[in-house]
Amino acid sequence: MNNSPEGATTSRRGFLGLVGLSAVAVASGGLLAGCSTPAGPRPGSGGATAAALDKLTSLTPAHVPYAGVTPDIVGQNGAPGGFTKYPASLVDAITAKPGKGGHYKAMTPLWGPLPPPLGKNSYFEAVNADLGATIEFNILDGMTIIEKMNAVIAGGDVVDITMIPSWTVNQIPQFGEAVDQLFEDLTPHLQGDAVKKYPMLANIATDAWKWGVFNGKLIGIPGSYTFPMGLILLYRKDLFDAGGWTAPKTADELLALGKEITDPKKKRWAFGDIKLMTYQLFRAPKEWALSGGKLVHRYETPEFEAAVAFMRKLYEGKLIHPDIVGSKGANAKELFKSGQILITQDGFGGWKEMLEQMLPTKPDFWIEGLPHFGHDGGAPGYHKNEEPGQYTFIKKGLGKEKVEEILSLLNYLAAPFGTQENMLSVYGVEGKHYTKTDAGAPKRTDLGLKEAPPTYFFLSGRPDAITESELPRYVETAATWYNEAAKHWAPNPHEGIRIQRPAKYAALEQPTEDKIQDVVRGRRPLSELKQVVEEWRKDGGDESREFYMKVLQDNGRA
């Protein structure tokens, strides 16, 4: 049966065809393969690469929200809910043992110290005992996961369960072809009502599942989905209050505030690098915008130009911390925590991470997401992370029985916050790996910190929530902030469509960004921005526009 959606036909070959190169690609396939750019599949390798969002629904599992646990602040518009107090009693979501005694190896990346391995790790033993099966982790170095996965995929060396972050998937050449050969097609196990056998997997949103479809088959189990804010602006609320400053409502106010705050003598600067957030304050599109039936790239919009001009003012005014200006690797987090930077750009996770790090020694430390504003006092246009953060794949050819056992294990690990299964698989055993605070929230012990980093958690997806009830003020602020943020997504004409970026287009990005950076930092005059964009158009931007337009046409959106 061919499940490939009709629209899933825009491919690299299509792109080459569009620019009149397809004959060359076919005639010199080997040659091109030998010297193609590292990212992305070979030109002319074919295969469906632009999956049609609107035709995928039939492949995805039915969505049956789990009603066992309700947050105190309900998430709206796709924002995560918030738990200001820890659930008094945890729900036992899965009563039967999911495992049948199998032993499976699982590969996951980790950005942190290694835990002791199976056999020397009481956390692994406890979770495996409750699972009724053994999961043995092969932890990968998070920073080099692309190199490692490239080799693993090329060598066909996958283990039983493999978690791959989505940004890695998108950078592995020919992943689209390898995925069929290496990983199990889960469509027969999970499509439609079949998923109801795995109620926690059925709790994952349909929009997330759509991204798990590769080549017209449901192959990947999507990871976390409900933190779609990629980056946010954080500010030192404590220092703002102490200094009598208020949050800005326009770009002009932000600039004026920056001048007021910055005082090199006091080792205090207003900003870290906030370029990507500035684009969003000026409502520049994430990538493409559809305007009057034509595709316009971010670089070509007046909003982008205004944002670049604004960032340039920040650099000219020396309002950005000199360490950030001077070195690419300056640690903005540390500078922000020490009060040398007052407004910084970070991931949403950075908010609570820094609070957790600082509050034990500095109880007055307080940071918040900067209240939402657009450059002109209107709304911002936030760039949404549509794709789930990661996928979990099951090795092909394990046999129906093992695949079903693994799916049961992943179903267990997909149990959401507020369930016993989630507590055990994330925190471990009470009294050993964590203790409960007076508020009932878990607090990791030294053993827990060592033995229980995110491992099982990475193997499955679940609707996430803001759950740091030990910091109720944070939960309330963050959940409210998020509900507001979720009203301001920038429109994206390609929303939900998996597109393999043409190599030429992808290769164009860094040099162009470097040129823009030169303008932002004052190394080139602002007037040259137009020339930079013109060069981008000539060097492949216009060709890419045709490719992206065809994607829209294939999907019936243009």
């Binding site: 942190g112 490239n150 990871g223 990629g230 020490s338 970070d346 996770g349 910190l449 990475f458």
Partner: protein, 298 residues
């Protein structure tokens, strides 16, 4: 009037002062990072937070970072692994390099020119990551310590240096041994090697430092975390908490372990530095000699 050329004249006082200052400055540039890394590793968490990064001015003393490192068993295990790989790897590499270099240094040895050409070719063309991985996989070495040693057992540069040293030994020396009835192996072990202690020490050091610092092969070839060497474990500590700044959308909201403070990261850097720091002075006297030989002979 002195007959010495001008560059051998006794330098003037200002000249010596300038030289001394320049060298002190260079030494400071080298020592300062080591100082702040060591100081940060020995500072309490408060001092690190207060400094907003690396500590430059001492503010309290704490061994907490080192205690933390050695309490889990992972770092201890990785130190043992690294020591083992360094010891075995250096031994294997030295044996292979000495044998190959000796063979290639004797003008009459069989195929020595094509063999040398093939070895020199690796200067120009290194195998790519994927072909190397596929080779190691087909040899059945994935997840084996040998995967860290065998692919790089002979370094072409080291081989060329050692061959140049061996070629420097007058042919009359082995010839006289041959007249006395010594075999080639005996000539190598009893005559050539004792005359080559310097170059062996230097090349051994190159290999040892290489094995001690290597981590990329371990990333590629080792899946079993218990086999990870120290440098790889160290990376995990140092890069903690960077997933978000990378723009990676991987969710870390599981309430996972808090990032260790900078002190722990720096403690592990100190730990990784120590062996090299200790071994260098002992091999240093051979160093100049060995390097010069590599520079003028080829």
């Amino acid at each position: 009037m002195s007959t010495r050329p001008v560059w051998e004249e006794r330098p003037s006082l200002p000249g010596r002062l300038a030289k001394g200052l320049t060298l002190s400055f260079i030494a400071l540039i080298v020592l300062f990072p080591i100082y702040i890394v060591t100081l940060t590793s020995l500072s309490p968490a408060d001092a690190v937070n207060e400094a907003g990064g690396l500590v430059v001015v001492p503010d309290g003393f704490s061994l907490a970072a080192y205690r933390e490192l050695f309490s889990g068993g992972v770092v201890t295990q990785s130190v043992l692994v690294s020591l083992g790989i360094t010891a075995v790897g250096t031994a294997v590499s030295l044996v292979c390099t000495v044998l190959a270099a000796y063979g290639l240094s004797r003008p009459g040895s069989l195929f020595h020119r094509p063999l040398l050409f093939m070895i020199l070719l690796t200067f120009l063309f290194t195998p790519g990551m994927i072909p190397s991985y596929l080779l190691v996989k087909s040899l059945g070495l994935i997840d084996s310590y040998w995967s860290l040693i065998l692919p790089g057992a002979i370094n072409a540069f080291n081989l060329v240096v050692m061959r140049a040293f061996f070629m420097n030994i007058p042919e009359e020396v082995p010839d006289s041994a041959r007249i006395d009835g010594a075999s080639e192996f005996r000539i190598l072990t009893r005559i050539v090697l004792p005359m080559s202690r310097g170059v062996i020490a230097v090349i051994g050091l190159f290999y040892a430092v290489g094995y001690w610092n290597a981590f990329f092969n371990a990333i590629l070839y080792l899946n079993d975390n218990a086999k990870w060497p120290l440098q790889l474990v160290m990376r995990q500590y140092v890069q903690q908490g960077q997933s978000l700044t990378l723009g990676a959308a991987v969710d870390t909201s599981s309430g996972g372990a808090l990032p260790p403070n900078l002190a722990i990261q720096m403690a592990i850097v100190v730990l990784a530095l120590l062996p090299v720091l200790f071994i260098y002075p002992f091999v240093q006297r051979h160093f100049t000699k060995g390097v010069i030989i590599g520079a003028v002979k080829g």
